[in-house]
């Protein structure tokens, strides 16, 4: 009995040791790819800039000062709030939000359609959704520009149908950026919603219809609450990368439709950059996203408690 107990505990301690080692890869990934870069960014944002890119290891708040405060061209005026960067942030949130709504409007019916096909056909539909994403994002975004430009197929088609008299200016507008972001991240909306709808028990919809609910009420009161986790995941997966994206705004938005991603990208490109400023903008973006998600989660928890 005693021997058995000893054997048992030594076996379990060996197991615990082994488990520690086996978890090493996971911990390293988290450490080197998640935590370390964020800490590096945080540290860099509080350093002094080197004029040809890079940093001088000297503590400084200059990056944050530059982001939030305007001290005039020569830095000797009394500080006022610097609206330039806040405006860029606001526009980015707006653009990413619009792209998320577009993806939701197209992605939800698509996901629902796929999830209601016969089980055998579903993998094929999912496969078809992902095929365009085998092509490089840059090439897809450039192609989008060709589709949308004044002599492009979209305008040609609209002119041909007689819907418009003169070509529409789409490229270099907010709409072009939204369309670009929407196209870039659509599968991230479709796939989680598809997974949620596929798990949904359609007997619930039948039960709702049986209890005199119209199709619209069934969708709103029964299906949507059931698949909400998938919808939320899809929205986060589209919104967050859209917010920091720079390819679509650069290529489709032109100079006036600058977004945070481009602002940050500029700071690390070539010799003209300002690394601490780029790092500070990244940290502010990160904080903003975290706050938004946190606020959303708290609101959800409160709604959950209420019902």
């Amino acid at each position: 009995m005693a021997a058995g107990a000893v054997g048992g505990s030594s076996a379990s301690s060996t197991y615990r040791e082994a488990r520690g080692w086996l978890l090493l890869p996971a911990w390293s990934v988290l450490l080197f790819f998640s935590l370390a870069p964020v800490i590096m960014m945080l540290v860099y944002s509080f350093l002094t800039k080197e004029h040809r890119g890079g940093v001088i290891w000297e503590f400084s708040l200059a990056a944050y000062d530059q982001f939030f405060l305007d001290r005039g061209l020569f830095g000797d005026e009394p500080p006022r709030i610097q609206w330039t960067y806040i405006a860029i942030f606001w526009r980015s949130i707006w653009q990413a939000g619009a792209a998320t709504l577009m993806s939701l409007a197209v992605g939800f019916p698509t996901a629902y359609f796929i999830a209601t096909r016969p089980a055998k056909a579903r993998p094929l539909w999912v496969f078809l959704i992902t095929i365009p994403y085998w092509v490089n994002l840059l090439i897809r975004t450039v192609s989008m520009k060709f589709l949308l430009r004044e002599q492009g197929p979209l305008n040609d088609f609209l002119l041909w149908t007689g819907a418009i008299d003169s070509p529409l200016q789409i490229v270099n507008t907010n709409l072009a950026v939204q369309l670009g972001l929407f196209y870039s991240y659509l599968p991230f909306m479709v796939l989680p919603i598809y997974a949620a709808v596929e798990r949904y028990d359609f007997a619930l919809s039948e039960a709702a219809a049986d209890l005199y609910a119209s199709k619209w009420t069934t969708l709103r009161r029964i299906l949507l609450p059931a698949v909400k986790p998938g919808v939320v995941a899809g929205c986060i997966l589209v919104f967050v990368p859209s917010l920091g994206s720079f390819l679509a705004p650069d290529l489709l938005g032109g100079a006036r439709n600058f977004m945070i991603g481009s602002l940050i990208e500029e700071q690390f490109k070539g010799n003209a950059g300002n690394w601490p400023f780029g790092a500070a903008a990244s940290m502010i973006l990160l904080t903003l996203v975290l706050l938004l998600l946190l606020a959303f989660a708290r609101q959800q928890a409160r709604a959950e408690r209420r019902s």
Binding site: D201, A203, A207, D210, L211, Y212, A213, S214, A226, S307
Partner: protein, 368 residues
Amino acid sequence: MQTKMPETSSQNAIDVQNAVKRFGNFTALKQISLAIADNEFFTLLGPSGCGKTTLLRIIAGFDEVTEGSVRLYGEDLGALPPNRRPVNTVFQSYALFPHMSVLQNVGFGLEMLGSSSTEARECAGRMLELVQLSQFADRRPGQLSGGQQQRVALARALAPQPKLLLLDEPLSALDLKLRKAMRIELKHLQRETGITFIFVTHDQEEALTMSDRIAVMSEGELQQVGAAREIYERPRNRFVANFIGDTNLLEVTVDRIEGARATCHLGGGHALSCEAVDGVREGARVHLSVRPERLFATAEPAGPEALAARVVETVFTGTGITSIVELEQGPRLTLRSSNSERGNRRVFEQGAACFVNMEAGAGRLLID
């Protein structure tokens, strides 16, 4: 003895006429005609794939007939969608809304029918009282046991006071004890509410215990419709005789039919008399069905039709004793006697010779 079919009239809760349902090449229902009376506890009984659930889904409005018609209290249901039919369903999986409380679940139908939320809540509360779940009103369905969920599903379907309640194998997920208790509760509820129930099951015992009438289905066709006792004691064909309860089937040739009596003989020439049946003519080779509990063994022949036999096996089953005997003519028969003084006197040792007697009216000729 013909099954009593209610005449087609607006008094019938449901009139199904020549209903055919095809899914692609597969025919789920082949020309079904059926009338279910107001206030009836009606059961559709059959093995899986017999079409009983298809018929139920057609009445609920989830499927449409390919041909034929379904009328509810005289009104043709046609392609009326499920949310416009005064019919509610208790689903096999219960299909309770997981994000709503028990009270919200039960009140949902009323709310959809336009009751104010206070009204809906009050009525839902009364329904929960009826199924004895008042103390769980604020719980989520996921926090209840299977039996409790089943009762919530029942309360939810009854709350809007439908003209017709459909129950799709509602007891199949419960354990045996609970199932037996629910059978009585369901029957009781049906009496109390006066709502017509259509109950779908593959469990013959469930069907026999609860139903006013039973329709036995197989392969998309009605095999027999009648009261529980009638179906058990006067099965029409081999499928019904085998599906409901246990039976002995003897191959016989019909010699003579005189009025209500028929005389037939076994393979060896032994004569047996029984009731005549529509559809079985003189000279036909058919099966005779005899329930094991209507046979008894004696040491000396109890009548002129007694069959000489030898006991092959006896099995004690608690409430009774089952004996298997081999007739002189070859076939084997199963006999069941109750575990009582009288019953035990009719049990013989394994290998013993005895005579097997049929109680009067026990043999039933089958049409196929």
